[in-house]
C-alpha cells in the first residue's frame, strides 16, 4: 500500500538523483584523507564499480513495477523476514538522515555561523524539512532541477576563477599508494554517495513513467552526479595537490584562494550557500523516506502525524552517534564504507537473487 499517492515526473527524479549525489561533495574529505592526489582515480573507479549496483536497483525496479523497497522485501522474503529487513532499513534511513543533519550543522557552524549553536541550525533544517514533507514528494523534490543547475553553474564558475591557481603537476606522483588505499577509497565513494541511492527505491511508485524509463533516468542521474563529484575532486587536487588531505573542507579552501584583483575574493561563500542548499535537499529527501518507510512498516493510513516526532528522533538520536567530527570522519573512512555495503549492495543483491529463485513476483515480468 502506497502512503503518499502524489506523483513526480521522471525528470524530477533524475535531478533528485543528481542533487543527492552533489550534496555529498562535502564528504569528499573522507576520501581525500585516504587517497590524497589520486582521489580522482578512486572516484572514477568508484563510479564504474557502482554500475553493477545501479543495475541491481534497476532490475528490482523493472521486476517489481509500482512497488517500493518494503513491498519488494515482503513479497520476496515473506512477512517475517521481510519485516526484519524492513526494520534494518528503517534504522539505516534514520541513521543516514541523522548523520547528514549533523554534517550540515557542523558545516554551517564552521563556515558561516560560528557563534550559533549547532543544535539550533539542525532544528531549523528539520523544521523546514518537516514543512516540505507535509506536502508530499512533489514539494520535497520540486527544486532538484534548480539546485543541481545552480551547483553545476557554480562549479564551472569556480573552475574558471581558480584556473590561474591550478597546477596539473599537483596530480603527480600518480598511482604510488598501496593497492589497499585505492580499494578503501573506491569503497568510500561507492558506499557514501553512490550506494545511498538505495533510498530512491522507496519513492519509485511515485514516479509517473514506465519502469524502463525510470531505470534510464536513474542511470543518467547517477552518471551526472558521478561526473560532478569527479570534476570537483579534480579541481581541488589541481589547486591543492597532496595537501588536500589536510583540510576537512577542500572545496571551501580551493574557492578561498580565488583572488581576481581587489574586487573578487571570498568566493567560498558561494560554495557554502550552494552546499547548504544541496544538503538541505538531501536531508529533506532522507527525512521523507524515513517517515514513509516507518508509516508503511506499521501499515498506517497516513504519515503526517509522525513527521515532527520523527524529526525530534532524528535530532536526538543523531547527537548520540559520534562524540566528535573527528570520530565521524574516522568512522567514515574505516568502518561505515564496509558496514553500508550490507544495506546498499548485499541486501538488494540477495533480494534480486531470491526473487529470481522463488520466481517473484508471481504475476509480473521476469
Amino acid at each position: 500500500m502506497q502512503i503518499d499517492k502524489r506523483k513526480i515526473p521522471g525528470s524530477v527524479m533524475l535531478f533528485s538523483v543528481v542533487c543527492f549525489i552533489q550534496a555529498s561533495s562535502l564528504l569528499t574529505a573522507f576520501l581525500a584523507g585516504v587517497t590524497f592526489q589520486d582521489s580522482w582515480f578512486a572516484i572514477l573507479i568508484g563510479t564504474i564499480a557502482g554500475l553493477p549496483m545501479i543495475w541491481i536497483y534497476n532490475m528490482l525496479i523493472s521486476r517489481f513495477p509500482g512497488k517500493n523497497l518494503l513491498e519488494i522485501l515482503s513479497e520476496v522474503f515473506g512477512k517475517v523476514l521481510g519485516k526484519i529487513f524492513g526494520v534494518m532499513y528503517i534504522w539505516f534511513f534514520l541513521t543516514l538522515t541523522s548523520l547528514n543533519t549533523i554534517d550540515m550543522g557542523n558545516f554551517v557552524k564552521l563556515t558561516i555561523m560560528e557563534e550559533t549553536p549547532r543544535l539550533i541550525l539542525m532544528v531549523l533544517c528539520i523544521v523546514v524539512g518537516a514543512w516540505a514533507i507535509r506536502y508530499g514528494i512533489g514539494v520535497v523534490s520540486r527544486y532538484s532541477f534548480l539546485f543541481s543547475m545552480i551547483s553545476f553553474i557554480i562549479l564551472v564558475i569556480g573552475i574558471f576563477l581558480v584556473w590561474n591557481q591550478m597546477d596539473f603537476k599537483n596530480f603527480l606522483p600518480m598511482f604510488t599508494l598501496p593497492v589497499k588505499e585505492y580499494i578503501q577509497g573506491t569503497n568510500i565513494i561507492l558506499t557514501i554517495p553512490f550506494g545511498e541511492l538505495v533510498v530512491f527505491l522507496m519513492i519509485i511508485p511515485n514516479v509517473n513513467i514506465p519502469p524502463q524509463k525510470i531505470s534510464k533516468m536513474f542511470f543518467i542521474g547517477y552518471l551526472l552526479g558521478g561526473i560532478h563529484i569527479l570534476v570537483v575532486m579534480a579541481r581541488d587536487i589541481a589547486v591543492l595537490g597532496n595537501t588536500i588531505a589536510m583540510f576537512s573542507l577542500p572545496s571551501l579552501v580551493t574557492l578561498r584562494l580565488v583572488h581576481l584583483g581587489e574586487a573578487l575574493s571570498r568566493m567560498e561563500i558561494l560554495f557554502a550557500v550552494v552546499l547548504i542548499m544541496l544538503m538541505f535537499f538531501k536531508i529533506t529527501f532522507l527525512y521523507y523516506v524515513t517517515v514513509i518507510t516507518i508509516a508503511q512498516f506499521f501499515n498506517l493510513k497516513e504519515y503526517k502525524p509522525l513527521i515532527l516526532s520523527i524529526g525530534a528522533l532524528i535530532l536526538s538520536y543523531g547527537l548520540t552517534l559520534y562524540v566528535s567530527p573527528v570520530k565521524h570522519t574516522l568512522s567514515g573512512q574505516e568502518i561505515t564504507p564496509i558496514f553500508w555495503i550490507l544495506f546498499e549492495f548485499l541486501l538488494p543483491l540477495v533480494t534480486l537473487v531470491t526473487a529470481a529463485i522463488r520466481k517473484r513476483p508471481k504475476t509480473g515480468k521476469v
Binding site: N187, L300, L306, I310, A312, S316, T320, Y322, V323, E334
Partner: protein, 69 residues
C-alpha cells in the same frame, strides 16, 4: 530543559491531539513509540548522560571480527 519540554508539548499538541480525536489507535501507538524514544534520548542528552553510540558499537564489533580498514 524548559525549551525542550516546550518543543515536545508543541509536537504533541500539533500531531497527537488530532490522532486521538480521529481514534486511530494504531497511529497513536506508533506516534507514542517514536515520541517517547525521542523524548528519552533528548532528556538524557541534555543532562549530559552518555548514551552508548550504536555506530561506535557497530564499529567495535566489526573491528573485532577484522572487518575494518
Amino acid at each position: 530543559m524548559p525549551l525542550l519540554i516546550m518543543g515536545f508539548v508543541l509536537i504533541a499538541l500539533i500531531d497527537f491531539i488530532p490522532v486521538i480525536r480521529k481514534k486511530d489507535w494504531g497511529l497513536a501507538a506508533v506516534f507514542l513509540l517514536i515520541f517517547v524514544s525521542a523524548l528519552v534520548f533528548s532528556v538524557l542528552e541534555i543532562n549530559n548522560i552518555k548514551i552508548p553510540s550504536i555506530m561506535e558499537a557497530a564499529g567495535n564489533l566489526m573491528k573485532s571480527i577484522g572487518l575494518s580498514y
